[in-house]
Subunit: 182 residues, 2 copies
DNA sequence: TATCTCATGTAAGTGGTTACATGATTGC
DNA sequence: GCAATCATGTAACCACTTACATGAGATA
């Protein structure tokens, strides 16, 4: 249900093509949402059917034709209602934890490697986020940031705090795995 | 793909009914995995077809009949291979962050309430986890814990560290929302 | 008398991934 | 000449949710 609303949120900023929305997932939204281009195009189709967005086809020279989507007033209303609606509990499914338990039970020897490889990924993410923070959000106090950037910054902070917590946990796990090695 | 492996992991401990596996999600695995009973029964069917588990029907007095599932040796092998297989990136989809951005854009007045209600949920979770930790895992040093409980404890620690990070982030968000109120 | 526990499922639908498909233009 | 960017989609499949369905026994 949520991807549709993510798309509506992007389009609330202004008209965009499916291609541009997909890019937004790789750029700004990458650290709290991801979606394949297929799913985005699919949902744009559903949203159009539902009358929440509309598009105008634009033919271009030297480039494929494109469809520029924009919110309808129904889409704007739908987004407004969704924001205020009660949130149902997110599901938690952490595959690494399952692997650790399973690995212990089957007597796997590769659990240190498994954790180490995940650690690398999380360290990279954290480094990226900190670089973005240093470049775009180093203003202190917060009031120095333009209001419309403050919550965007908070989504980045979520990533930073989340990754730090993960890494602190990984330290504990590595210590535990060391006690079990002997 | 992963729920099947979670089920195999549970069954590696010993035979169980679908009902008991579902209960395990409410108890021990609740803080890092959840699944509906329908999905569990469905996947037990698929796993049986695939020859990774088998069941024996047990008829009971004063109780419905039940199917007691156990791992086959193929199932044991499949679990062993899965543990060592490379992990593909998990998807990140944080609905609350989308709501905050959307709420800002549509000019919603209810964002403090939204964050507050989520905070309550996370505080409750943290309290539960800390209670479990105090009751079952207070042994220090870690070597005092039986080896087979140490990684189980680490799954709990993941929950604790994750919830604390979430709450620290919520503090920041509330401060930001306060700057935007004026 | 009402709710909880035990115990298992079907059917319909939502949300998402993976593989496949096309094809011109721009930059190294 | 080769990869990346721009730009859109279909088809098959996988994972999961929600609603519906049944029914006995134990507990308050």
């Amino acid at each position: 249900m949520a991807l549709k609303h993510v798309i509506l949120t992007v389009l609330h900023e202004g008209p965009a093509t499916g291609y541009e929305i997909v890019k937004a997932f790789d750029d700004v939204m990458g650290y709290f949402w991801n979606a394949s281009h297929q799913q985005v195009y699919h949902d744009l189709g559903r949203l159009t059917e539902a009358g929440l967005v509309r598009f105008t086809e634009v033919s271009q020279d030297h480039r494929p034709d494109k469809k520029v989507y924009e919110l309808t007033s129904e889409g704007r209303d739908a987004l407004r209602h969704w924001v205020e609606a009660p949130m149902k509990p997110q599901r938690t499914q952490d595959e690494l934890l399952v692997r650790l338990l399973a690995g212990e039970r089957v007597g796997s020897q590769g659990m240190e490697d498994l954790v180490a490889s995940q650690r690398t990924l999380h360290e990279e993410k954290l480094r990226t986020y900190l670089a973005i923070e240093a470049e775009h959000f180093r203003e202190v106090p917060l009031e120095a940031l333009p209001p419309e950037h403050r919550l965007v910054y908070m989504t980045l902070r979520r990533g930073i705090l989340g990754e730090r917590a993960w890494l602190a946990w990984a330290d504990e796990v590595e210590a535990v795995l060391a006690t079990m090695r002997e």
